[in-house]
Subunit: 377 residues, 4 copies
């Protein structure tokens, strides 16, 4: 029987065990800003299950004054903490970690004060995904957003929060920009190929499909159930905000400029991203060669599972987990490399990766509180 | 066991903690028969997360010789154990607990041998839901099945596995018949009303709706995606196998005969049962009165959450959990009691309740390995 | 009109033919108010297919100035007419028929002027479903709405627009109140039983499940795709606006007061209502007896299909059609009649019934433009 | 307001009118082989609505002896004809047109006899999509199928049934091979670009996503509702049967060899294909240039709607219709042409195109019986 996954038995175990975490004798105290969105709820859920952390404060713009379980009944009895406004004196203390599960321009305004109080900060938005002011401004300008960064002095101290590519820097960082969901699937899917110069760095195709939760919890006409249940559509064909970080990260691997064409598409599923990625091969390789290159690249990265073209996997294979399943194939007739990269957009694409970053930042085993097989069916 | 729910804010813990289980210094060794169905996969998933149990053997009629993770890739790295045929010498040892996640007539043939080797047995089928031969034969006959029970001498030693109604007997039992999924929702929804003689015991209406997973993992024409995605339908209007256990259990609470009309309906969802239950009130009561009666009835039962008619809950409130949400309302104009009873058919309706029974049988806190808020969204 | 359904195999035609309509040599000119909601779009679609009618004006509160096909691209090339504000001089002419696909209190304000110009009016809301001021006020009061009717002088001239029960009156009427969607399924399902005094008129149970489109096209949090795709829930348990018309219409059939308990539930489907209805039998009858009574009752009503308990039908059987499928069953043990009544909420529950009413009001064969089998799968 | 669609007012009209068809004074008699699959049901539905054709015989391997409406209740009253076995003497007469809605190797065996009796034949399979034996054998060999064609003498008399590309030949043909569903979306999406030499003919990327109905009506484990409702997956990465016809047809347009890499993916929707197509531009063009080229190419083809990159369309825009919506965009940074091509796989991808072919073969207006806006929502 061929081994299906590139197991690193020391990282993933048969049995989900609570990791022993020696360096601390107290829990990591966490504050969650933007607690009532899908990203905030995701990190709440994960922190509740985490053996070495606890939720100390919840902040949100809406519903301040209510208990989180009044707004989200499924949390009743598990997390009944009050929601505070950002400026509420009750949530101005010192925390060990602060998650900004907020849109662009919130973290860049408020992270500094938290850092000053000694917190480690993980921001979900585009605010800290770029490490120079020029890169940030290029990103903001492309999107037609305000190019002024409110904390330019922090740029350079921040790290792009993808442990598979930046593990050591994240371990030393106090400020992490959590990657975009689409970007995570594209970068993990193509990084080994660019590192190995397997493909032409120009004109990579990223055909990306996401579940609706990627657009957040706010009801919108195009996500109204009757308008979505038989609908797949492409959107924002003129440019998507995740392209910048994909090109930057892949360029770092390639050691040269990378360009991608990116297509965002929405599916009638709740969770999941499947990205199909195409590149022009620069050399004659077989699928076995590519499997080997990818598995070596991710040998230390237990959340990435590299699979052959015959693998029967899809978004349900990773639902509710922090895994990224990568299926490799080589099309000899067109001399293309084709990668199918699959994640749960709310886990490896958002809260799961945020927790993975927290684990790395605090010296914990990377999969602490994240080592679960996902709900089936 | 401490209460875990909505009676007072202090009773359910904010943090999901692993319960300390003093009486054993080794893990409970479990054998799962019928491992590849939804019921078997459910108990595998729960046992993987359980702090005091471990999976020791997997048995299934199909796929023997393969690893479970070859058939279900989402388990890769978590459970890679081989699947054995029932008569494989490798799985004839002594186990602490054996789950028969099998259709009728399997457990009744094989449970005896497991009991003889000292195992506690939990059977998911109708085989051990009745404690007298006459009751079993009535059930089998109504369904047009073979009325001969293969282990009649065990009837009377078995207990109906609903801890909320039979906790003490389950704690002493070696053989438990795990309830049907529809039956669980109806019995939990109506038991307090019958115990308190709030409603006429005759002609109770059980209007039940289930997700497709309730029908098992086998592909069938009516569950083919294009045939189901816009479809709700009623089926088997002439009689459903769960009626017998509903009437028997409710009769035990009422102290007299109970009759129900039962309608089974299938929805285009994967998981979840919502049963709407109606009874004729025998006395003038308010919703507050009913809430009080129900909450007292379930005061020791942390998995039942009793809610007022204004509660905004549905199948997503319990998805992936062992909870049963019960919404009570009183219709004064028609003098009816109306109960909406909601469970996850694969959890409280199947594997979750099986694990709850195991916990009770082994003296563990009832919610060990089951105390989780469910995936959202 | 020839029968079109299940009485004898010869009555419904194999071929969908365009009916010949002798009395008119010009098309019926229709104005649609509320054109951009699901109800308005439904009647637009049907009028486009109708051989004897044409759309002459579109009115809506939103999107005035745009073309309907700019807002709904699927209509491009089929209906590119402009949307007008209600007070636009361009839409103040005389029309043959005006559809008010609008919420309560719009039709009651504006119908009068249309009637004065000679139009026949069909209103979708509760405004003209009651024929006395007292009945209207009872309805409005129960719902906590303003009980003042703006055109009380019209009450008494209006007719409840269910041709199966009021065909002759509708044929003579100028003002029709189109029934509610839930109400349609309940009334058609129970009318024959009450007419024949088969069931106790008190305490009838109406357990109703609807697709999301029943709530209209406006995006709301509970209908956001990720919040709905695995969700069924009951709502408004304290009382639903359709109860009044159900009790009134069934009372007319019974010749005495009728009371129902009504449960509204929402499903993760786009279109469809399945109502399961229960009544206490007053006499010993078989399913065959009930089938006979129902089929005689609906002998002239081609859109109602009466089926035995073994029929394999669901919401997909009527999707996109004006049919109501009624499955009858008798539960001898509890002496209950159980009816499963199935419609497409946007067709027989809304625009389809409105067009059926138009046909009757204009002396056309009742199924003109409505005789189609529905999309499958 | 820019015009949204490339309307050719003489082909598509605001009003759906029954086309006047002068050359015949009797109906076209049609025989449907493979009547019980989705493709057969689709053509039955369309023929029922067609003003100049009628169904004369239904043939299927399964359910022979039953009425089609016994198997598909939604057809009751509309089509109650018996299903015959292929060799039943009752269906050996002469028909005007025979649809083979059958898998490979049925039409190639039986078409000859039908042609000999004077019928025009439209075959849905791969049997007659290739006009030389060599091309057929290449196709069969690539798929690992039997390369022997059973009616090689017919090859060369057959025409590829895509009216947009082969209208004149189809009008003269007696034997048409109806295109594959994925192939239709790819060919229509890329043909104008290749004709105009806008893109490099090598290494075109076809990233295709289909609803489940594309796999037919047979229940399979991967399409069981609980396994599909949150699942998108790629399959058959080693090669798909539609690649041959895509490369052949695009090669005919380009006047040189074309190669594509093709990815088939399945979505949790019932109907619909969205294909995202990428090619390397050979010249500097703007979106406006491409729109112009495409609109001219399809000026006579009313079922193709060419749209700019800002168009908000998806699979719901074409559901239930024979339209192909094509969204064009140009990515200057990577110098790629990107086309989003959308069809209903059961209509333009199957039965709709078959009927369109019939119309062309019989000299009818191409959109007879097909000119409808589709069900919304």
């Amino acid at each position: 029987m061929p081994q299906l996954y590139n197991e690193t038995p020391t990282v993933r175990k048969r049995k989900i065990v609570v990791q022993y975490w020696p360096p601390m004798n107290k829990k990591i105290k966490a504050k969650v800003v933007g607690a009532t969105g899908y990203g905030g709820l995701g990190i709440i859920d994960l922190l509740l299950r985490h053996p070495c952390a606890e939720i100390s404060a919840l902040v949100a713009r809406e519903d301040a004054g209510k208990r989180i379980s009044d707004v989200y009944p499924h949390l009743a009895g598990f997390c009944d903490m009050p929601i505070h406004a950002a400026d509420d004196p009750a949530v101005q203390g010192a925390y060990d970690v602060v998650f900004f599960s907020t849109p662009d321009r919130v973290g860049m305004a408020d992270a500094k004060a938290e850092l000053a109080k000694g917190a480690k900060v993980i921001d979900y938005s585009g605010d800290f995904r770029f490490t120079t002011l020029a890169a940030y401004q290029d990103y903001a300008t492309r999107l037609g957003k305000d190019p002024q960064h409110l904390s330019p002095e922090l740029l350079g101290t921040n790290v792009y929060g993808m442990p598979e590519l930046h593990r050591a820097e994240i371990a030393r960082a106090n400020l992490v920009g959590n990657p975009g969901c689409f970007a995570t699937s594209c970068i993990l899917g193509l990084a080994p190929a660019l590192k190995a110069h397997l493909v032409n760095p120009h004109g990579l195709v990223c055909d990306c499909k996401s579940g609706v939760s990627g657009a957040g919890k706010k009801a919108k006409p195009q996500f109204h159930y009757p308008e979505r249940c038989e609908q797949i559509n492409a959107y924002r064909l003129s440019g998507h905000q995740h392209v910048c970080e994909v090109e930057r990260e892949l360029g770092l691997q390639a050691g040269e400029d990378v360009t991608v064409i990116f297509t965002a598409q929405v599916l009638p599923i709740s969770r999941g991203i499947l990205s199909t990625l195409y590149g022009d091969l620069t050399q004659d390789v077989t699928e076995a060669d590519v499997l080997d290159i990818y598995r070596k690249f991710y040998a230390e990265s237990g959340f990435v599972r590299v699979l052959p073209s015959t693998a029967a996997v899809g978004t349900m294979s990773v639902r509710g987990t922090n895994f990224c399943d990568i299926v490799v194939s080589v099309d000899a007739r067109t001399r293309k490399l084709r990668i199918v990269s699959i994640i749960d957009n709310l886990m490896k694409g958002q809260a799961g990766q945020a927790l993975q970053n927290m684990n790395v930042m605090f010296g914990l085993p990377e999969n602490t509180g994240l080592n679960q097989p996902g709900m089936y069916p």
